[in-house]
Symmetry: C2
Subunit: 404 residues, 2 copies
């Protein structure tokens, strides 16, 4: 507590400092900052952390700021959690460091702050640490999160690559978590198609996690994308941070698609965050014999996700009404498609070889003789029947028999 | 029209005769039989078919039977369609023939008539031609239709076999269409598990279609199942009959599951009939890279089907409320599952090797020193932490790091 304090009067610096004090998703800090502003909130936290009578400080604060009544009971505990980290804060050094890394820090007042984060309310991040393109709001405006299991199958990776490439081809940013498996495949697919992709990490943006994906993160930056985190530089990823990071992936994206996920997978938490944020959720089906798709099928069964099978359907999922509709799939046209019902039934009844007369055709097809005469004219014009002596047969080389 | 007419006074014989006169799904004949009874309806049709003034006969009929007003305009056309087949009817011979085949004929008044067929209204079949077990209503009471593409993949066939075997193990009859591909796999899976299975054919029950499945149909009969059709013996399958047959599969079953179906597949018509009949519909997902699953995914996307991945989920689909619920899937328990939130966070922050003290742990985990003390006690009791000198470390041989 006795270390010299640098200036944290401005909102950005104070939020940078807060970012080092809290764990992601700290709603008490969020309420405090929302009510007092980040600088005053930090000053209050500092005085509380060194006070011998925190309950009295809390009472005074809430009496003056009734908006904080909801977190009244949690403020004391929160101060205890913040205490150990309130010393040695140096936001100016952090900001310099980010500039050296070729990035910066966004806060809710910044141009480029992803507005989707505001939907998180008091658990929104204090700030966003950014490497690469700083002004991420534009690319995120039409972004899709593609997430899934680290323990992916070659099927899942192939689908992730193809979906991401398809999205990139439609100028749609792919957001993922930079992990092995589906995440990496999604980033790679976007890059391969020349797209912009954004990785949201659970640890600091200066440390690639997992290290094996460091070259992938570099390529993301080289190709105009960004690497983001709410955890300050140097921060290590932890279980809780992974789960909290997932809410950011859901919040910055217009829709979230789970490509492959086991019955119990972190990707499902991203999907659940997206549902809570009223963002559309898609799930890619897979073989029911593959445990790596069980989580996707679970989402489909629960009605939490829409079934998506290609990039067009993903775009439709995220699309605005009337736009981005997946094209109607064209099925191969089949003989008889454009015929009326009576002519189709007669075509079905026409023998392939031996020719038969009107009355037998009528009995076979269950049509009246008059209907047979009319329909034979239709079929003859369409080249589907031929006269053989006094009777009629199917045109040579054609067959439509079979269950349709 | 001048052939000698056998007695068709009784309802069964008259319906057997009607079954030879109409094409499946003839709603005009259905209304006529419902209003007049099958015998009087047949007599009227015979007189109309030979009359020179059908409109006058129709007017007289509808004046006497106002219930037929809905079909007034279609009666004339219908008479023309029936005319060619009204001669040479011999229901007594048909009934004898079915007895020789080891079967019989069911009509709505029979014990054993599947009551689900009544939901089809006027398009319900006149009668049901049966080989094998005649009293099918009992086995059909808890039956599931498993349908799908003839052009199936080994994946689809494997899933069909496994689902059918799982249903048979729960004394649930599998209904299908006796075709190659998914249908055959469904029948085989049921038979392999000792189950009773029912094949609903688009042609007569005396002719195996496709012929390659004749041995399969024989095994169905040997094992106590039935082969059914609304088309009389000798009847050939046609496109229209396949599509109409699909409504029967949907109607006799408690639920319909599409295992594999292309974007345009007859199996989708069965699903659509089931939807129209308010029967539950399930679809088995598959790889999005497989065209053979595109129809299943279409049903899922349209919200027409529920995603089902195993027999338990299929039983739940067809189940009564409170019964047949699929068991909650057990995920493998993971270390820390039963810990409170604070202890889990501390466990995450514990170093693997070097030991650290309370204050550093508090800073790392974002917890107060008091919470750290308490949680260390919890973790120590659980064998998850160990004292090392004045500090604490994770117990040897355990690691929980990673994205969950």
């Amino acid at each position: 507590m006795n270390a010299p304090q640098t200036d944290v009067d401005d909102e950005l610096s104070a939020r940078v400092a807060w970012s080092r004090v809290i764990e992601p998703g700290d709603g008490v800090a969020g309420e405090l900052v929302r009510t007092l502003g980040a600088g005053r909130a930090l000053a209050w936290a500092r005085s509380a952390a060194t006070s011998r009578d925190v309950p009295m400080l809390v009472k005074e604060l809430v009496d003056n700021e009734p908006a904080l009544d909801d977190v009244r009971r949690r403020l004391g505990t929160a101060v205890g959690r913040w205490a150990g980290r309130l010393a040695d804060l140096d936001p100016a050094r952090d900001l310099e460091r980010m500039q050296r890394l070729g990035g910066g820090v966004l806060h809710p007042g910044s141009v480029g702050w992803p507005v989707g984060l505001d939907d998180l309310g008091p658990t929104a991040p204090m700030c966003l640490w950014v490497r690469g393109r700083l002004e991420v709001s534009t690319v995120l405006d039409r972004s899709i999160a593609l997430v899934g299991a680290r323990a992916s199958t070659s099927y899942g990776e192939r689908v992730a690559v193809e979906l991401a490439a398809g999205l990139a081809a439609h100028s749609t940013c792919v957001v993922s978590g930079g992990a092995y498996g589906i995440d990496a495949a999604a980033h790679r697919g976007s890059l391969a198609a020349g797209g912009t992709t954004v990785a949201l990490l659970a640890g600091g943006v200066d440390r690639a996690y997992p290290v094996g994906n460091a070259p992938l993160l570099e390529r993301i930056l080289e190709q105009g994308g960004s690497v983001l985190s709410e955890v300050p530089p140097g921060g290590v990823p932890s279980k809780g941070r992974f789960l909290m990071r997932n809410r950011l992936i859901a919040a910055v994206s217009r829709a979230t698609v789970v490509v492959e996920a086991a019955w119990r997978s972190g990707a499902l938490s991203t999907a659940n965050h997206a549902v809570a944020l009223l963002r559309p959720v898609g799930a890619v089906p897979g073989p029911v014999t593959s445990m790596a798709s069980a989580g996707c099928h679970r989402l489909l069964r629960d009605g939490a996700a829409v079934c998506v099978t290609d990039a067009a359907e993903v775009l439709e999922l995220a699309g605005r009404a009337g736009e981005d509709l997946a094209p109607e799939r064209m099925a191969e046209a089949r003989e008889g498609d454009d015929l009326d019902w009576v002519s189709r039934r007669l075509l079905d009844a026409l023998p392939g070889r031996s020719a038969v007369g009107h009355e037998e055709l009528a009995r076979t097809a269950g049509l009246s003789v008059g209907e047979v005469r009319g329909a034979l004219g239709v079929l003859e014009l369409a080249g589907l029947t031929r006269r053989v002596g006094a009777g009629w047969a199917r045109s040579v080389g054609r067959t439509t028999m079979g269950r349709s």
